[in-house]
Symmetry: C6
Subunit: 238 residues, 6 copies
Amino acid sequence: MDTERVNTGVPGLDEIMNGGIPRGQTVLISGTAGTGKTILSCQYLYMGVTKYKEPSVYLSFEESPESIKKNALNFGMDFAPLEKSGIFSFVKYDPYHVDDISTHLESRIREVGAKRVVIDSISALSFYMREGENFRRMLFTLSSILNKLGCTSFLVSEVLPETTALSRSGVSEFVADTAIVLYYRRVDSAFSRAIQVWKMRGSSHSERLHPYKITKTGIVVYPKEEAFIDVKHGSTKF
Amino acid sequence: MDTERVNTGVPGLDEIMNGGIPRGQTVLISGTAGTGKTILSCQYLYMGVTKYKEPSVYLSFEESPESIKKNALNFGMDFAPLEKSGIFSFVKYDPYHVDDISTHLESRIREVGAKRVVIDSISALSFYMREGENFRRMLFTLSSILNKLGCTSFLVSEVLPETTALSRSGVSEFVADTAIVLYYRRVDSAFSRAIQVWKMRGSSHSERLHPYKITKTGIVVYPKEEAFIDVKHGSTKF
Amino acid sequence: MDTERVNTGVPGLDEIMNGGIPRGQTVLISGTAGTGKTILSCQYLYMGVTKYKEPSVYLSFEESPESIKKNALNFGMDFAPLEKSGIFSFVKYDPYHVDDISTHLESRIREVGAKRVVIDSISALSFYMREGENFRRMLFTLSSILNKLGCTSFLVSEVLPETTALSRSGVSEFVADTAIVLYYRRVDSAFSRAIQVWKMRGSSHSERLHPYKITKTGIVVYPKEEAFIDVKHGSTKF
Amino acid sequence: MDTERVNTGVPGLDEIMNGGIPRGQTVLISGTAGTGKTILSCQYLYMGVTKYKEPSVYLSFEESPESIKKNALNFGMDFAPLEKSGIFSFVKYDPYHVDDISTHLESRIREVGAKRVVIDSISALSFYMREGENFRRMLFTLSSILNKLGCTSFLVSEVLPETTALSRSGVSEFVADTAIVLYYRRVDSAFSRAIQVWKMRGSSHSERLHPYKITKTGIVVYPKEEAFIDVKHGSTKF
Amino acid sequence: MDTERVNTGVPGLDEIMNGGIPRGQTVLISGTAGTGKTILSCQYLYMGVTKYKEPSVYLSFEESPESIKKNALNFGMDFAPLEKSGIFSFVKYDPYHVDDISTHLESRIREVGAKRVVIDSISALSFYMREGENFRRMLFTLSSILNKLGCTSFLVSEVLPETTALSRSGVSEFVADTAIVLYYRRVDSAFSRAIQVWKMRGSSHSERLHPYKITKTGIVVYPKEEAFIDVKHGSTKF
Amino acid sequence: MDTERVNTGVPGLDEIMNGGIPRGQTVLISGTAGTGKTILSCQYLYMGVTKYKEPSVYLSFEESPESIKKNALNFGMDFAPLEKSGIFSFVKYDPYHVDDISTHLESRIREVGAKRVVIDSISALSFYMREGENFRRMLFTLSSILNKLGCTSFLVSEVLPETTALSRSGVSEFVADTAIVLYYRRVDSAFSRAIQVWKMRGSSHSERLHPYKITKTGIVVYPKEEAFIDVKHGSTKF
């Protein structure tokens, strides 16, 4: 029995994920500053609502919905009408009051009937919860709520350059079902971008590095090409 | 006098362990995110119950039994009927209440008459017990209970990339009788998987790196082949 | 719909930024000691006031306005008459009283009707706010005030040599919309300077390293030339 | 005047130690997990009692005497009859009550009339005494008691891979009179074992790396052969 | 309008500084143990008083004036008569009572009418002020007092080998107007010394490494020669 | 005026120190475990008393005088008769009561009329004084007392392998007038020893690495030979 796949709507991404994300999984989106994690997240939700008819929720801890929407508009994604029609919702949550975050998120998901969720970023969350074990527990709680409600979700993870872990905490990669890494690295005299599906629970996937670009309509992945960047001191590890 | 061996049931693994795990030992299963530690653990218990008729217990600190069972199903392992017939048991234990964990685990092992146990993961345990000496002591306590009850056990250990220790704490590898390391590393432009028996108390074993794959029925080890991955900055050390 | 661009007035810089800074963005200016971050900031504001008729505010946490003005004079920029005519303002703020800093900054911006702001340096700010999450929050607060008031702003960031992050805190690069890095690095037996646009939200930009010089009239960027410095152990990362 | 030498009874080891351990010294046995430190310790005491007629004491902080004895049996060393005849004693001591450890150890040594002592492991001891200066002091106290009682002793020290110190604390190598390091390192595609006498107070010794094997009767050192392993990132340092 | 230059009096040094130190600046003198920071400082003040008729103050936090004077005598600099004639003053200040240090220093400078000041060392100061933000603030306070009083000053900074920052705190290089680094590095089988002007506010300077020697009359810099030492793991950075 | 030199009495050492130690200086003796720091110290004092007629004091913080004397005997140095005749004294001082250490040391020095002092080790001292600034202050106090009493002294410093500082604290090398480093490093398949005079206040010295051996009569330095060991990751730095 094969698991149902959720199409991301990001050109080329589903192909390197063996058809899409297994429904109900949480996906870690990991990358340094400037790799396009927020654009990718916007595309996932925008295409979800407009093309696949799946209501969606975008949970932000720091950046304002206005700022995210303005940025998305640059790539041709207009979230305003989707919000008005009640099939999309931006939530800005204060990371200082994390205790009731899961209740809050759950009620918003039910309200919208969301099938897709983005949490941007779990790194912010880990910053405000300084004790590692509290963060680890919170992450498992969020993850199991999202799973219980049948949502297929993105957890956005900031990493610093030359960190070998996939998240600031070194925890999220073990909690997430699937992990995708975005690279931005110098090759000779210019910079290149590459994407990699790091792990996918219960599914095979491309084990290669693929180039991607940030175009006028967002991220485009090239599933048939291979990226030759040196990631030895980056995030490719054993 | 040779020690009795416990067959893991994982294709190829027993061969690189000189016939299997010496009965009663604790085995550290160490690997980064995405190396298949949980699949390997499921196979060990599923084959234990179905093929070798040894009742088993799976102790999880964070991931829900539902999630683990669902993932196992993807590889053709259906734990539900085994649970119903009382020869297999999933235990989810809150790592915040670790004081009585050993009592709890012991009673569940006796209930099922378990011969095989998986603790997934001791890394989670170490996270919630922030004082190193408490964790070290807990680990020795668990280990001696498992030994006293005659169980042959897996301790699952998360490691971050480029860590040279076999566990987050740098302690577990000294407590475990046997240690197995799973690698996931880039070779030229693709990723390769390799497995290594790091140590085995009171027994010889293969001292080479062997390739393994995650197939539709779980992990398969190739005992006659050798893996040529560079583990210099990984976990091969003096 | 294309975003309006703010011209920096720094020769060559606008060309590698695809025409200038998208109006309303915050720009991280990152570099080690001696790379000319303060000169660049002075040029941005001086040209803003004199050439583009945009009133400006320079917020300093440590260095005295006298010292900054004296240094600017060396490069032919005389801020004294601009201050007198009320279209430019230096603010020195004690980083020990950060609680009301945003109120203070906001009122000064309104007073002057500022369109351009420099905060020099956010590293000093992070020093005095030792708890990471407070600094992160402060940075988001400042950033959203600047955005709300329609200011296009520079955040000056000190980095130590061979640090791979773009800021001391490893936070600012995620908060800023745009990031520019200044390098000072040995090539064979002499030192070279190079500038790079690291990221620009919602816009393409040069992805190359360009040489720059500190001349008698300030920083000059060479947009048509390429700098070949080894930044592997510097701040070029994945 | 030459110091009397204590024969270890480990094949080949005395030859690379210029005839054995100077009587009364403490010897640091340093190695990562899986290098055979406990086997070596068992051999030292077993041969001491059975061949050289020197009563012995084995002090363990964590592993149970049962477990150590069972493991020793795998190598043909049966400690049970030695215990019964009162010339050998296993002591298990709770590392949480370290205050009276020296009194306790002293009385046991006198009881047995011990000439050889193993403390397994001082790393465990350092774990439970988190303040570095307390551990340092305890180590000197133990060392001077052992010296006063005329015992020639092994201090077992766990090290993590790629650590350059000979002990977790970086202290024990300065306290011990003699230090022996056990290596386990990859050479091309297989793993090799090597032993080295690092220092010996008041005596010359082999300054080379020698291969050793873990055979069915325990560790065997090859004093006439040389091991060519790369220990650059291991424990060869200035 | 060009800034007036202060001649250091150190042979060759003024030439690589484009004529000397811009009057009123603070200069960071950074180097490991044995690079001659104190000799350089003594030369700066001794030549200041005897050749350029500028009264001077030497502020020491730890080393006694007797010890510094004795050492200076070895290089032919006799401070005793200068002290007696009231145009030079040694100040030894207890770093435990730093609160009133600036008042103290100011009154001594006024007393002597000092134009040149050496603070040896700011590393000692940072040691006794363990909270980074207090040290940063103190440094800015000292710096602005020295500037206000029209003194051209040296701040002596100890660095450990292979540190890439120019000071222990990683702060001083941002506070100082000018930074000079002294290197002591192995080239093949012998050691070489080299000096570099790292940054100079508002002025161009040599961007090369120049050899220097510690002669019988103190430090001599060779402005026309170039030093070819490998400072990759030293202090050459981006 | 040339400073008087103190002969160490160690064969070859005076030659690479331009004739010996400038009288009244403190000399840092830095090396890893097994480099012979204590033997060198014993030679310095033993030769001082027997050959140069300078009474001496050996201050130990941890190792017992009995143990040091026994070890010295192995190298033919018998301190017992020297102690009896009152021209040599061993002091064992409890590092937990460091407050009155300087008074204690001073009175002992006066008693014996000591001209040479060894403090073994300052690393132990730093261990028991956990706050860096207290240790730094204590070191300066000891150093100025020794200087005031006209003693020429050794400060023994333990370093861990691959540490680039000359002491655990990274402080002592700045306090000492002179620094000598002992190396023990692998070259191809064997280990080599080398000695280096790192710095000497107010004096020139050999800037090369020289081989040394630990013979039956103690350390012998070869001033005319050169040691070619790789100290890149050791203590050769800028």
